[in-house]
């Protein structure tokens, strides 16, 4: 236990540390009036000495507690309840979140009680507690009015804590804030500069547009005040006012320009920031400042960069880098698109760019800003070379921060001088391989901008090589960028295919669906490369069978172009012959079917491929039938249905099988690209929710059907208009049936069931399946959402035809 405290008061209010309970558990306070009768009069306390007593470094010593207590008592002589310090301690002592909530709840209850009672003398402390509670993330809205009351009080301490509470507990969107306008106005006119300062600070941090309009005249007046601190605060406050109400910019521009003649750095910094804001807000202000302050700015920059050592403003040997940077930023605004202004700045910019030391962060910050300014204004070519050289130095710096910043600015420099940026290509490529995620991302974005017709091949090669060793986290970004580059420069088909095959092999799991869809469209269009594609994919699949997208593309190609794989049709010169038997090809697909058990899309594709192979390789059909039938009892309806249907096609309907399983018609590339572009825009808001929600629906047998969304993607793949037109005339009627049959598009029973009767007798017979809607029309959950609707079900029909080819 601590030694007995020196004041009798403390025996009545023991510090919480001596009590086994946190202070908040102590008996509730009696009213101040009652207490004043009970208490012995406090002895005269040597408060002065206490206030001056050096702060004891050991935070929790008795002296410290006593001192705090005394200072609390000094403000509220008859107060009780827990002190701020005790509350913080109690909260920190909590072991669990529940405990913490309990303590906070108790405190809040006490504060509410104090607010609704007269609670005058505890207001100060309660506000401090509320701010702490607010910081922990608990609701504190009930304290908002207390802020206003404190602000309206006469004393400085109350106002200080009141304004702090106002800034922390409220933001500009709260109605309560309007009530404070009057108090603010009074305080802005107060004779005490610190009270004016508080009001300006609050106004600058949270004022709303209405308040800005109401109080702008006061702030304007204060910018003319004699006190430097008031001036700088008023200038920054006007920054906020101008942001909120750009119309007011004209009122401030004369004042802002005149503040630039001051000596005080705080005022200068604030004034420069105000000017920058004015330039953004109004064209007139920009013109005015161009005329009136460019000389002043150059002078300020010259003075501050030539000034001798000034300890007050010195940062790592550089005099006031903050002022440097702000002036440079304003110069950029003024010089942009104005040759005269830019001309005027050239000398001083050259001086800053050459003389600033670059071994410290502060110096580099100035150089960074200077380079940006040179890039931004109409600088001379010599100056630009200087800037690019500085960037080169930055880029080879060992400090990650500097390299990050260099990459950042090169992004902007590329529009100014692409050639100069190209020179640093090697270094930038190195940065793509950095250990730091921020740097990698910047560098990759930059490389993406650097790619052009001449360097696309080496750059892509580098990126693809790096893909092999990249972080799993980073692979997704990298893959997307490589694919995007490859597609952008895909005039040379063979090169594009090669790159895509490599990406699929190395990071097939990160390739987006639309990317491999596009790849399939390209393969289907490049008839002379189909053989090469299927062979390359088959070879890649042997080595990288774990890559999902690779497997899908490979399986699709094997299904379509199986005979080219086996017969080495369409060999390219550079290609070595491979020997693949029919059984090998079936093996590859079977492997995919078995390996990817959870992925319905892949497995469905495998089944379709097997079906197609059964017609390409008649000798294999018995084996294929066996593999397909393994899925007859699959719990996933989609697979079960395909398995049964495909089984019957193979077994019983050999006469129509070959025509049913012809190769897919060439997919329309242009139509796909258009659709893809619109899909990527529409996908995010509308498409996703519709596709994803039904995926969670339960089937009657209680098995959730996964992968509804991929199915939709799959359908999208071939739902171009081209096959519709080619096949439409013959197939309008049976398409409904087929859709029903394969259980993909059976959205609404009306479309699925009714029209099937007339034209489907043959098919019915053919597939020996019942046609009753109740049996076939089990809606496939993936598509049962009304949002996809009927137009989609038509698209789905097309799909079936794409897969089964012209029926």
């Amino acid at each position: 236990p601590p030694p007995s405290p020196p004041f009798p008061l403390l025996q009545i209010h023991p510090p919480s540390s001596s009590s086994p309970l946190p202070a908040c558990f102590l008996p509730a306070p009696t009213t101040p009036a009652a207490r004043s009768r009970e208490l012995p009069p406090p002895p005269p306390r040597p408060r002065r000495a206490l206030a001056r007593a050096p702060r004891d470094p050991k935070l929790d010593t008795v002296e410290k507690i006593v001192e705090d207590f005394a200072s609390d008592m000094a403000l509220n002589p008859f107060s009780s309840g827990t002190r701020l310090r005790d509350m913080i301690r109690a909260i920190r002592a909590c072991k669990t979140a529940a405990e913490e909530r309990a303590v906070v709840r108790r405190e809040c209850a006490a504060i509410r009680a104090a607010i609704s009672g007269d609670g005058q003398d505890l207001r100060h402390r309660n506000m401090a507690k509320l701010m702490f509670i607010h910081m922990l993330g608990y609701p504190t809205h009930f304290g908002q009015m207390e802020c206003l009351k404190l602000i309206a009080a006469a004393g400085y301490p109350e106002k200080r804590i009141g304004y702090l509470g106002l800034m922390l507990l409220l933001d500009e969107r709260q109605e309560v804030l309007m009530l404070v306008t009057n108090s603010l106005k009074q305080d802005l006119n107060h004779s005490n500069q610190f009270i004016v300062g508080l009001a300006l600070c609050a106004l600058g941090n949270i004022c709303s547009a209405e308040m800005a309009r109401d109080l702008a005249p006061e702030v304007e007046r204060l910018m003319r005040s004699r006190d430097a601190n008031t001036k700088k605060k008023a200038a920054l406050c006007s920054v906020r006012i101008v942001r909120k109400v750009p119309d007011l910019a004209e009122n401030f521009m004369g004042l802002a320009a005149s503040l630039l003649k001051e000596k005080h750095h705080g005022v200068l910094i604030s004034a420069v920031q105000l000017c920058t804001e004015l330039c953004k807000a109004s064209k007139d202000a920009l013109e005015y400042l161009r005329k009136n302050c460019i000389e002043g700015l150059v002078r300020i920059l010259r003075d501050v960069s030539n000034s001798s050592y000034a300890p007050e403003y010195d940062v790592a040997g550089i005099s006031d880098p903050f002022l440097h940077i702000r002036v440079l930023k304003l110069m950029r605004m003024l010089g942009q698109g104005d040759a005269d202004c830019s001309d005027y700045m050239n000398d001083i910019l050259a001086q800053v760019a050459t003389k600033t030391e670059s071994n410290k962060n502060a110096g580099n910050a100035i150089l960074y800003e200077c380079v940006e300014t040179i890039m931004g204004i109409e600088a001379t070519s010599g100056l630009r070379v200087l800037a690019i050289n500085i960037l080169g130095r930055f880029l080879s710096n060992r400090d990650n921060n500097i390299r990050y910043v260099a990459l950042n600015i090169l992004m902007r420099a590329i529009t100014v001088d692409a050639q100069a940026v190209q020179r640093h290509r090697v270094t930038i490529l190195e940065c793509v391989k950095d250990a730091d995620a921020s740097i990698r991302k910047r560098a990759l974005d930059l490389v993406y901008l650097l790619v052009n017709d001449t360097n696309v091949k080496p750059l892509t090669k580098e990126l693809v090589d790096y893909l092999q060793v990249a972080d799993p986290d980073f692979k997704e970004d990298l893959t997307a960028k490589i694919c995007s580059i490859a597609e952008k420069f895909s005039q040379e088909k063979l090169w594009y295919l090669d790159q895509m095959f490599k990406v699929l092999s190395l990071a097939g799991n990160h390739v987006k669906d639309d990317v491999w869809h596009a790849l399939i469209v390209v393969i289907s269009n490049a008839s002379e490369l189909q053989g090469y594609s299927v062979r390359s994919l088959y070879t890649a699949l042997q080595a990288y069978s774990e890559q999902g997208s690779l497997l899908r593309v490979a399986v699709w190609c094997i299904g379509e172009y199986g005979e080219m794989l086996v017969n080495n049709v369409g060999m390219l010169e550079a290609e070595g012959p491979i020997t693949v038997t029919e059984s090998d090809a079936v093996d590859a697909v079977e492997l995919g079917l078995n390996r990817y058990s959870p992925d319905v899309t892949t497995r469905s594709m495998c089944l379709v491929a097997l079906l197609k192979l059964s017609s390409r390789f008649p000798s294999m059909s018995e084996r294929i039938k066996q593999i397909v039938s393994q899925n007859k009892e699959n719990m996933v309806l989609e697979l079960q249905q395909r398995s049964i249907e495909f089984g019957s096609i193979i077994q019983r309907h050999q006469s129509i099988r070959s025509s049913l399983l012809e190769r897919m018609p060439v997919l329309d590339e242009a139509a796909y690209l258009v659709k893809r572009a619109s899909a990527t825009q529409a996908t995010i808001p509308a498409y996703k929710p519709a596709a994803v929600t039904p995926g969670g629906l339960k089937l009657p047998n209680g098995v959730a059907k996964p992968a509804a969304a991929p199915l939709v993607d799959l359908l999208d793949l071939s739902s171009d208009d081209a096959p519709v037109t080619s096949a439409a005339s013959a197939t309008t009627a049976p398409s409904d049936f087929l859709q029903d049959l394969l259980g993909i598009g059976g959205t609404n029973l009306s479309t699925a069931g009714a029209p099937s009767s007339a034209s489907t007798d043959i098919l019915m017979d053919l597939l020996s399946m019942g046609s009753s809607p109740s049996q076939n029309g089990l809606p496939s959950p993936g598509l049962s959402s009304p949002a996809l609707g009927k137009s989609n079900s038509n698209r789905n029909n097309d799909l079936i035809f794409c897969f089964c080819s012209h029926y």
Binding site: C201, L236, E312, N361, Y368, A435
Partner: protein, 228 residues
């Protein structure tokens, strides 16, 4: 303050909170990181929550920026918030979310990486002092290096004001830390580049409060005497 330093303790020990922020000030005072070897690609980094995918629609888009510095955050190594100051409007809900996302993003970063994190189209500049992370969120085209200097400026002023500041100072005297911050930033813009000037202004205001307390104290004495 020689008595304030405590013996070094393990990570689990809460007393390590006492470690001086300024213990690492000397190396920072140079304003430059110690030269670090370029690291080659690591095999794997710890997976980090992807902020963008979880971001709600209201926060995903960039809001029009209202300030150079959109907010200031002080987070402890354990993810506890020590100070927050918002210069752009965020609702309470958004604030909680921002803090959660950023602490996930920043606290997991290794010590040798750069001090910038890209987040929802903004950049968050952070710097670690002992157990505390000082974070400031700026626009994508602002000067990151300068913000590092502003953070250091703030820390040096805190250090001067508290006399070798430590995390506990900022916990128990959080309001004073806010007062200091209010003398450095208004409306997300820097207002004073002189540490001495800030210290002088804060001291003047503190003495104003002291004087008011004295006055209140003497009045209470009079009342006490009268009621005796």
């Amino acid at each position: 303050h020689p008595t304030r330093s405590r013996p070094p303790s393990t990570d689990a020990d809460p007393r390590r909170w006492h470690s001086r922020l300024s213990a690492i000030l000397p190396s920072l005072a140079t304003g430059c990181h110690p030269v670090r070897p370029r690291r080659q690609i690591r095999a794997a980094t710890p997976t980090r929550p992807r902020s963008s995918s979880r971001a709600s629609a209201d926060l995903r888009g960039r809001r029009p920026s209202l300030a150079m510095i959109n907010f200031v955050l002080l987070i402890s190594r354990q993810g506890k918030v020590r100070l927050t100051k918002w210069y752009s409007p965020y609702t309470q809900k958004e604030r909680t979310k921002v803090i959660r996302e950023l602490s996930g993003l920043i606290l997991t970063r290794g010590p040798k990486l750069c001090n910038f994190v890209e987040w929802r189209g903004y950049k968050v500049v952070y710097r670690r002092y002992a157990s505390l992370y000082f974070c400031m969120c700026i626009d994508a085209d602002d000067n990151e290096l300068e913000v590092l200097e502003i953070i250091h400026h703030f820390v040096e002023i805190l250090d001067r004001y508290f006399g070798s500041v430590c995390e506990l100072d900022l916990i128990f005297n959080f309001h004073k830390a806010y007062y200091v911050l209010d003398e450095i930033l208004i409306s997300g813009e820097l207002q004073e580049s002189s540490k001495k000037n800030v210290a002088r202004l804060i001291a003047a205001q503190d003495s104003l409060v002291e004087a008011a307390k004295e006055e209140a104290g003497s009045i209470s004495n009079i009342i006490a005497q009268a009621t005796k």
